[in-house]
Structure formats: C-alpha cells, structure tokens
C-alpha cells in the first residue's frame, strides 16, 4: 500500500490536485471534482464586484469537509502583492496553505524566479505552508526548499497549454534532488501526461485546464484519477528494463516439426 502524501498537516491519499477554473458550470465542476477523487482544490483570490449581487458563490460548490482548499496568488507579479494576497486568503479561508504564483510575464505565465523566492521566504516566516509554482529548474527548486517551502511545483508546460511534460528530464532531476514533495503543476493535457509525470516519481500532479476544457470534463476527471493512480503504481511496481531487441514471450523450443518445403 502506498503511503499518503503529507503536506503540512494534510495527509492526501489522492495525488491529484485540481483547480476550479474554466468549467462550463459550477455544477459540472462539482461532479468533476467528485470523479477526480481529489482531496485538495485550488481557488483564486479577487476583488469582490460591488455591483454584482449574484447569489451563489464558488465556495457554495466546495464541500470543505471533503476537499481542502488551496488558495493561489495567481496574477501577482511582485513578491509584495503575492504576500498580501496570501494574507487575505488566509484570513478569508482560515488556511495557511498557499499556492504561490508570481508571474513574470502575462503571455507565457512563466514564474519570476527571483520574486518567487523572495515571496516564499517572507511567507514561510509569516507561518504559511508554501507550495510555489516555479520553472523546471533544479536550482530554483533547491532555493525554494532552502527557503522553507513545503513542496516545489515545477511546471510541466505553460499554464493552460496542454502540451504535457515538455522536459521530463528536468523534472526527473528535480525529483532526484529534492527533499520536499515535488508536484508537477501545469501542462497536463490528457491522461498519459499525468501518468508520465507520476512514473518519474513525482509526488503529485496539479491540473485545471486539462480537465475543465475537455469535451466531457467529468469523464476526463475520472481518466486523470486513473492515470495518476496508474503512473504511481507503475513507479512503485518498478518497470521492466527497456531492451533494444525483441525477447520472446513464448518458449523458443518445443515447436512442432516444420513443414517440409516443397
């Protein structure tokens, strides 16, 4: 039996972390969350619209007895803003978990390494359990670990691109060298992408668009759950060695007498 993934006080049996964005409806989101088997979902923090009196809000669709909430600092471009956003999230949601995102560029949504490290240090000092989104750079990940982050979350590909793991090699190096959990964040577009990530030995996968923008998000959530479990099991089972040549699955002796060529 696999051991649960520990992040701060959380003990997660599901190694799939999912978002709440871009779903056709909050009802579909709710069913997709159930199908995914996730225990941790991300939310964003935004100004309330004072003119909009719409009744139900996102939190009405999140059963917090079932799902822990992971607020993010998406959209922030400086350490200062990310820190304030995290503090507001903590006050709002009563959690010290934070998915730290400090974006360096609005088009690629790649993180700004220097600002992310600065924000991480300050948030750790302030008592947060920090899960930073970061480029797939072993050094940046090591610096974030040194800063006291509870995990590192290198990107597999740009947010929302669905390109899969563009560089499995760098993710493997990061995992090999990390002393905190490694969570692949962003890039997963289909089930095999998630399986490939888990087979590298990473501890979990975080995704949003890959599920939310599938033609059938609920079915894709089920696919992602199975893919994460499959990749994890394959990693633990220890795959066969690759061989450059064929090797028969059936005995090579005891064949019937060959027909005599005319």
């Amino acid at each position: 039996m696999d051991s649960p993934l520990k992040i701060g006080a959380l003990e997660l049996r599901s190694r799939l972390i999912v978002g709440t964005g871009k779903y056709p409806s909050l009802e579909v989101m709710q069913r997709a969350h159930a199908a995914s088997g996730t225990q941790l979902v991300t939310v964003a923090i935004r100004r309330i619209n004072l003119d909009d009196r719409s009744g139900k809000t996102l939190l009405d669709y999140l059963d917090r007895t079932q799902y822990a909430v992971l607020p993010n600092t998406a959209g922030c471009t400086t350490a200062k803003d990310a820190v304030l956003t995290a503090q507001l999230a903590r006050e709002l949601l009563g959690t010290n978990l934070i998915k730290l995102e400090v974006i360096g560029d609005a088009q690629t949504l790649y993180p700004d390494t220097t600002e992310t490290i600065a924000a991480a240090s300050e948030l750790v000092r302030d008592g947060f359990i920090v899960l930073p989104y970061i480029v797939d750079d072993p050094i940046a990940c090591a610096r974030l670990e040194d800063a006291g982050c509870a995990a590192v979350m290198p990107l597999g590909a740009p947010i929302g691109s669905g390109l899969g793991l563009c560089n499995p090699y760098s993710i493997a190096i990061i995992k090999e060298r990390a002393n905190v959990p490694v969570i692949v964040d962003a890039g997963v577009g289909t089930a095999s992408d998630a399986a490939i990530a888990m087979e590298l030995g990473v501890d979990a996968v975080l995704m949003n668009t890959g599920i939310a923008l599938a033609r059938d998000p609920v079915l894709m959530a089920d696919a992602m759950r199975k893919a994460v479990e499959a990749g994890r099991a394959a990693y633990l089972a220890g795959r066969m060695q690759k061989r450059p040549y064929a090797s028969a699955s059936s005995p090579t002796t005891g064949l019937i007498a060959p027909a005599v060529r005319a």
Partner: protein
C-alpha cells in the same frame, strides 16, 4: 470622507468602520476578507476598525481559479 474601495473612489460617512462599509455594501462579513492600506484587517475587528480619509480598502473573495 473620501476613500478608495477596490480601486474606485467612495465617499463614506464620518465614523465609518469596516463593518459599516460591508453592511452598506450588502456584504456578509464571512464571505470576504479586507485589507486597508495593504494590511489585512482580522474579521474579528471589523466592528471597531474605523476608516479614515484617504484609506485604500480592498474587499476580496474566493473565485474559480487554477
């Protein structure tokens, strides 16, 4: 007095507090968090937290995101 709420100018009565602002905005205090001049105001102190001329107030909530 003049303040800024979520980036827009807003005139508040003298003696306004975070709590009174929320009430007049029709917002339940448990669905929002508040920062005044970039420091967070604990929910427990909304009633007593007075607002002043020129305060920059942020009222945020949780929304769908990844």
């Amino acid at each position: 007095m003049k303040t800024t709420v979520n980036g827009e100018e807003r005139a508040l009565a003298e003696g306004a507090t975070v709590a009174s602002l929320l009430r007049e905005s029709g917002l339940a205090s448990e669905v929002v968090a508040i920062a005044v001049n970039r420091s967070v105001v604990p929910r427990a102190t909304f009633e007593e937290r007075a607002l002043a001329e020129g305060d920059a107030i942020e009222i945020i909530r949780a929304v769908a995101g990844g």
